[in-house]
């Protein structure tokens, strides 16, 4: 009997099957939630570039996104999908990352148009982020300059299928490999870049903390990170002690 078998006999190892525990009710509940998640998607009205113009026809009478359970929402707290429709400049990308971190998990990102894939026609621009995938996890790309509403709808259907099968897990990747994403963000925005969201604490909360969550870049972040403070409330802004701009 080898050492390995001896250990297994003394300490029986229960191998966890992918897809949860053996409790059949938990499994049914997970399946139901996954199905409902895939059939009810709220998209965030944060449209960055020219591709946004393809969304109104996809939403309105001709293509009617609501048939698929997809409806627009205006606040990141309510949204499931972040649509990046077109080029993201360095300035916009900061806001996109802030928005993404405020969305509730599970959350999905769709990159629409060629610009999100490789910079597209802004390849030589100094101000455009070329690969969106470096800065945030993209679940699905819809390429084209610009993709037709049919292509947008097809892409969304593909995302729905991925969610139902439990394959759209980009948001978990963001927590598991935060150091990788933060490194790219710091390269673009400078070493003092920070968001109000404590991604590392969230990663621990979801149980998604891995070896790659922390690294040299998060170490750099922790050196200068300030906790989020409540805004100071004051009346009479024209008094002597007003904040200098």
């Amino acid at each position: 009997m080898s050492d390995n078998e001896l250990v297994n006999q003394q300490f029986p190892v229960k191998v966890e099957q992918p897809g949860g525990s053996g409790n059949i009710f938990a499994r049914v509940f997970d399946e139901l939630t996954a199905f409902c998640r895939s059939r009810s998607l709220f998209i965030l009205h944060y449209c960055t570039g020219c591709g946004a113009i393809e969304l109104p026809p996809a939403m309105t009478s001709r293509f009617d996104m609501e048939r698929l359970g997809i409806s627009p929402m205006v606040s990141p707290r309510q949204a499931d999908i972040l649509l990046i429709t077109g080029y993201v400049s360095v300035k916009t990308l900061k806001r996109v990352i802030l928005t993404y971190e405020q969305m509730g998990s599970p959350k999905y990102v769709i990159g629409i148009c060629s610009c999100t894939v490789n910079g597209g026609m802004y390849w030589q621009s100094y101000a455009t982020a070329k690969k969106l995938n470096d800065y945030m996890p993209v679940d699905l790309y819809i390429a084209g300059c610009m993709p037709r509403p049919e292509a947008v709808i097809t892409g969304l259907r593909q995302l729905m299928e991925n969610i139902r099968r439990g394959e759209a897990n980009g948001w978990q990747d963001y927590y598991q490999r935060y150091d990788h994403y933060l490194g790219h963000q710091q390269r673009l925005f400078g070493e003092t870049w920070q968001t109000p969201t404590d991604v590392i604490a969230e990663a621990k909360h979801y149980g998604l903390f891995s070896n790659e969550t922390l690294g040299e870049h998060t170490k750099l972040l922790q050196q200068h990170q300030k906790p989020l403070e409540a805004l100071e409330m004051r009346l009479g802004l024209d008094s002597k002690d007003k904040v200098e701009p």
């Binding site: 009810s40 359970g69 707290r77 998990s105």
Partner: protein, 299 residues
């Protein structure tokens, strides 16, 4: 009444209200889709939305009052359902009456104000101040209508109101006896449901859906449940006061859904009013209609 029967009714009435409310939300979205020449959402879409929202992994809470506000918003309506007589179930309607119901329908707005207040989001604060202003606007005609109906039937007990209308047949319905008050009631209903042109507190392009701006996950799910209850409560109250309640479930549901078709169809014909315009309009026309209606009320 036997206590076991009472408890069964108290559990069943909100449950029925929720299920009927889901179909009312579906009808609202379908009417919007038809008017815009779309197909609209699938039948179970409202349920998918709610299950998904409660199944979200992140449930960002801004504190105890944020949680409590949503409980109060849904709880206010759950309590209101037990005071609304439906065919075969009276619940505690005999103990309550119109005045209690009037108070209970205000609790959700106040609960929401508490919850949204703790979010400290400026858009939320603007939204909730508008919601309370809207409540101030539609409550004046609403109270006049309630007072008129109570004077006409000589009681504030909803079970008696339904019984009197059903005993007298179609001629004794509130809408036939007091058409002006019924019209004023429809005005108030439009404001109470927050439908255009009175949709001042849910202004997606302007204040990012106002009170809902910081609500995600179970909080938004709670608000979706609240919307089901809200549509049900408003329509059933109108049916009870003016359309003779329900003799059986078929006529009752037909009347309740028919009442809602009016505000929902009107909603997509109008843009949104400004807050002060809403106040001016609701304090002028339905109040004048209601006051003239009060003159003609006979006991």
């Amino acid at each position: 009444m036997h206590w076991a029967e009472l408890i069964a009714e108290l559990v069943l009435m909100p449950l029925v209200a929720f299920i009927v409310g889901l179909f009312m939300v579906l009808m609202m979205r379908k009417i919007a889709a038809k008017l815009q020449r779309r197909v609209g959402p699938p039948v179970l879409q409202p349920l998918y939305d709610i299950v998904k929202l409660f199944g979200k992994k992140t449930q960002t809470s801004h504190g105890l009052l944020h949680d409590f506000g949503i409980v109060m918003a849904v709880g206010g309506y759950v309590a209101a359902e037990t005071l609304l007589p439906v065919p075969g179930m009276n619940g505690i309607a005999e103990k309550g009456g119109m005045i209690t119901l009037l108070y209970l329908t205000m609790i959700p707005s106040l609960g929401l104000a508490l919850g949204v207040g703790q979010c400290a989001n400026p858009n939320g604060s603007i939204g909730i101040s508008r919601a309370l202003t809207a409540m101030l606007a539609y409550d004046i005609p609403f109270v006049i209508v309630i007072a008129g109906v109570a004077m006409h039937f000589g009681t504030t007990n909803l079970v008696d109101v339904v019984a009197q209308q059903q005993a007298g047949g179609f001629e004794s319905w509130g809408a036939v006896q007091m058409p002006l008050l019924a019209l004023a009631g429809l005005f108030a209903l439009q404001g109470m449901l927050g439908k255009q042109p009175f949709e001042i507190y849910v202004a997606p392009a302007e204040i990012a859906t106002g009170p809902m701006v910081e609500m995600g996950g179970k909080f938004l799910g709670g608000l979706f449940v609240m919307q089901c209850f809200q549509l049900y409560t408003a329509s059933v109250l109108y049916v009870t006061l003016f359309l003779g309640g329900g003799e059986n479930w078929i006529t009752f549901l037909a009347k309740s859904f028919a009442v809602l078709v009016v505000p929902m169809s009107l909603a997509f014909l109008f843009p949104r009013y400004r807050t002060e315009d809403m106040l001016a309009m609701l304090w002028k026309w339905p109040v004048i209609l209601g006051l003239i209606g009060l003159v003609f009320v006979t006991n």
